[in-house]
């Protein structure tokens, strides 16, 4: 099924033009006989993108997304691996559910699906789920998260951080103090004061991050922070990393690009958790991506059925789609900093969207340098193309993109998963 390919004149990581050859699912030295040729002049090659944070909604909300549609969207967005969050129905808190999701991913074949296991039974924050069984299952779970809910009980968090050391797991924390965010609707600040929406204060994220950095250091565990959204969180993570603690963090494309100013329309397409923050937060998050304080960019792709978004703001579901817009939005956000030239941009994108997330998820087959012998997981990007986001044209069932109508730079031309094209010319292959 995976044929042989010759990708001519492509610029790996934005460097000098070269030819890449694929045979038998791997990158190879020499052009295989009868290889299909792609003229890739002007295109950039990156290792296939890896998402640490995807909601595929199956099982339970197949009206919003399925593993099939979500991973097709991933392929179109240049991803070769996604981590499927545990807040499905039933919750992915036992080996049976994570194996089901893993198998659905295999069957769909658009990209590798690595299920995230719940930290606690039913995401209820009371008892540890069978983390070891999920780690040992066919799905080989390494990332555990109650995402959508914070593991708020400090003792439970401590135990989780300790327990997963036995199988090199990591706890991905959704940092949100529940008491400080009761009924919260948007970032707490000038906009919430004006709009009369209940505020979600930065301190509710930062207080949990500070605590969990200290807990991880204390027990020698590995903590990862999901969707970091505030300047204060960045400072705390920078501090913890300075201490040499085992702390990693991700930021979403939307938190790198949008501020809470957009909430003034009350259009729930902009309602997300954690909420969009201020311009100062966006600047701090961008700087943290540049200097490596934030390790990874993760989509928090959260598709919702139309009726869950076409409502009053307070009644609407939290979340935005992200897989198909992630790379272009990140490129746009990083270029806006003015801090990068072309030679710096693409290696940075490859690191934050592929290599480092693969390392955090312990995925040995992804995020590798584009060298002979490596699995042929790669994406071809046209850096000169621009395109306008049309939610109706995506592969995701979710139409809730906050970027509808925006013109973005960089178009994904092709995605290869172990030598097999999963997306070609903007279509699912």
């Amino acid at each position: 099924m995976s044929g042989s390919w010759a990708i001519r004149g492509v610029r790996p990581l934005g460097g000098e033009p070269a030819d890449l050859f694929i045979d038998n699912g791997e990158l190879v030295d020499e052009e295989p006989a009868g290889a299909e040729v792609i003229d890739a002049a002007g295109l950039i090659a990156l290792p296939g993108l890896v998402d640490l944070h995807t909601h595929l909604r199956e099982p339970g909300r197949e009206d919003a997304e399925t593993v099939e549609t979500g991973t097709a969207a991933a392929a179109l967005g240049g991803f070769t691996a996604v981590h499927a969050m545990a807040n499905t129905d039933p919750v992915a808190d036992v080996a049976g559910v994570v194996e089901q999701v893993w198998r659905l991913g295999q069957d769909a074949g658009h990209c590798d699906v690595h299920p995230v296991g719940a930290v606690t039974v039913g995401l209820r924050g009371e008892h540890l789920a069978e983390l070891g069984a999920m780690a040992d299952s066919a799905a080989r779970v390494r990332i555990f998260s109650d995402d959508g809910h914070c593991v708020h009980d400090p003792l439970l968090m401590r135990r989780a951080l300790e327990y997963v050391r036995a199988f090199d797991g990591v706890i991905a924390q959704h940092a949100q103090d529940p008491r400080l965010t009761d009924g919260a609707q948007m970032n707490e600040g000038e906009q919430s004061a004006r709009l009369g929406l209940a505020g979600w204060p930065a301190v509710a994220e930062e207080a949990v991050i500070a605590r969990d950095c200290l807990l991880a250091a204390h027990v020698g565990g590995r903590v990862h922070f999901c969707h970091v959204s505030t300047a204060g969180s960045v400072e705390l993570i920078r501090w913890a990393k300075g201490k040499g603690w085992n702390v990693t963090a991700e930021v979403t494309p939307h938190h790198l690009f949008l501020t809470d100013d957009v909430v003034s329309t009350y259009d729930p397409v902009f309602k997300v958790n954690p909420p969009l923050r201020t311009a100062e937060d966006v600047a701090a998050l961008r700087a943290a991506v540049l200097d490596g304080t934030i390790d990874a960019i993760a989509t928090d792709h959260a598709p919702h059925a139309l009726e869950d978004k076409e409502t009053e703001w307070a009644a609407a579901a939290f979340g935005m789609t992200g897989l198909e817009t992630a790379l272009p939005v990140v490129v746009a956000a990083l270029l806006e900093t003015g801090a990068l030239d072309d030679a710096q941009l693409w290696p940075l994108v490859a690191d934050r969207m592929s290599s480092r997330p693969a390392a955090i998820g312990r995925l040995s087959g992804h995020g590798q340098p584009l060298l002979p012998g490596a699995p042929a997981n790669l994406v071809l990007v046209d850096p000169a193309a621009t395109w306008t986001v049309d939610p109706a044209r995506g592969a995701s069932r979710g139409r809730n993109t906050p970027f509808a109508g925006r013109t973005l730079p960089a178009r994904i031309v092709a995605t290869f998963l172990r030598g097999r094209p999963t997306a070609l010319d903007g279509k699912v292959a």
Partner: protein
């Protein structure tokens, strides 16, 4: 004027003064034996109330009827939990019925903005969640001008649960537009984070503010706030932020006392203050009808005079 009235910030100074001047003309109608004008004959006004509010609904209903509009009361009480017909479906229904104006009261901040997105008629915000209540601010400004003869340079204290008050938000914006100097007064727990960006002064000390107030507006303390941990006890709130006879005496001689109603007598306002000569509370209700007539008239471009209003 804009097609909709969603926020007091939608009104320029000229717009706001036009509403107040028009309301004065409308007030004269109330003194006639036949309290009715033909200006909105054949137009349909829908009162869409997702929250109980007999006084506001009645006020709008009376205003629309005095302008000869056809009035439909559409009570769609529901909560975020009990999912009945969605706001969008309700909007599409009203659109199909040919509503020229929809007066909406809703528990969710921003619901009128969503509604305006889905229908062609004018949307009039009659109070949305903890956001705004622009016609309340207009009737308050009307009342101040009627009693004190001006708005420019008036010192207005707005006292109480500013955090959750749509009346406070609309009044701060409108009074600033009209040149008054507003001070919001509340315990720090009942002021929103971000209040510093509002065009008003902020104080925690009612006794310090009262002596310079031309107007003191007391806000209702909602029952659920009393148990929400925003202040230790209702008694302590009342002692520190309630308007009683002692505090009333601190006001300048011609200062007035306002309250948007309904009042918690003995909590934010003492009964003798509410019923005293400085209280404008009953006038506020009467003025509400005139102001709402003016807003409906201006939004729908009725033909009060020979001149034609722009139905933008």
């Amino acid at each position: 004027m804009n097609r909709h009235l969603l926020s007091a910030a939608d009104l320029s100074r000229d717009d706001a003064l036009l509403v107040l001047d028009t309301a004065e003309e409308m007030a004269q109608v109330a003194d006639r034996p036949i309290k009715k004008l033909p200006t909105l004959r054949g137009r349909t006004v829908v009162n869409l109330f997702f929250e109980d509010s007999t006084r506001t609904r009645t006020s709008f209903e009376l205003a629309a009827k005095r302008l000869s509009a056809d009035v439909i009361n559409f009570s769609a009480k529901g909560s975020s939990v009990s999912k009945g017909e969605s706001l969008k479906d309700t909007a599409l229904t009203l659109e199909a019925m040919g509503a020229d104006a929809v007066v909406v009261r809703h528990w969710a901040s921003g619901a009128p903005h969503r509604l305006a997105h889905w229908i062609r008629g004018s949307v009039l915000n009659a109070g949305d969640g903890t956001h705004e209540h622009p016609t309340q601010a207009l009737l308050d400004a009307f009342t101040m001008r009627q009693r004190l003869g001006r708005l420019e340079g008036l010192n207005v204290g707005i006292v109480g649960d500013v955090l959750h008050s749509r009346v406070a938000r609309s009044n701060v914006l409108l009074l600033h537009t009209l040149g008054a100097d507003v001070t919001v007064v509340a315990p720090p727990t009942l002021l929103p984070v971000g209040v510093d960006a509002w065009p008003c002064a902020v104080s925690f000390d009612l006794d310090g503010v009262l002596p310079k107030c031309d107007v003191v507006m007391m806000l209702r303390v909602q029952r659920e706030r009393m148990h929400g941990g925003f202040f230790p006890t209702t008694r302590e709130y009342s002692r520190r932020y309630g308007l009683d006879a002692r505090r009333l005496a601190m006001l300048p001689d011609d200062a007035i006392v306002m309250h948007p109603g309904p009042m918690n007598r003995g909590v934010e306002i003492a009964a003798e203050v509410a019923d005293g000569v400085r209280s404008t509370i009953v006038e506020q209700v009467a003025n509400g009808v005139s102001v709402r007539m003016a807003v409906l008239y201006l939004l729908l471009g009725g033909d009060l005079s020979a001149g034609s209003e722009d139905v933008a």
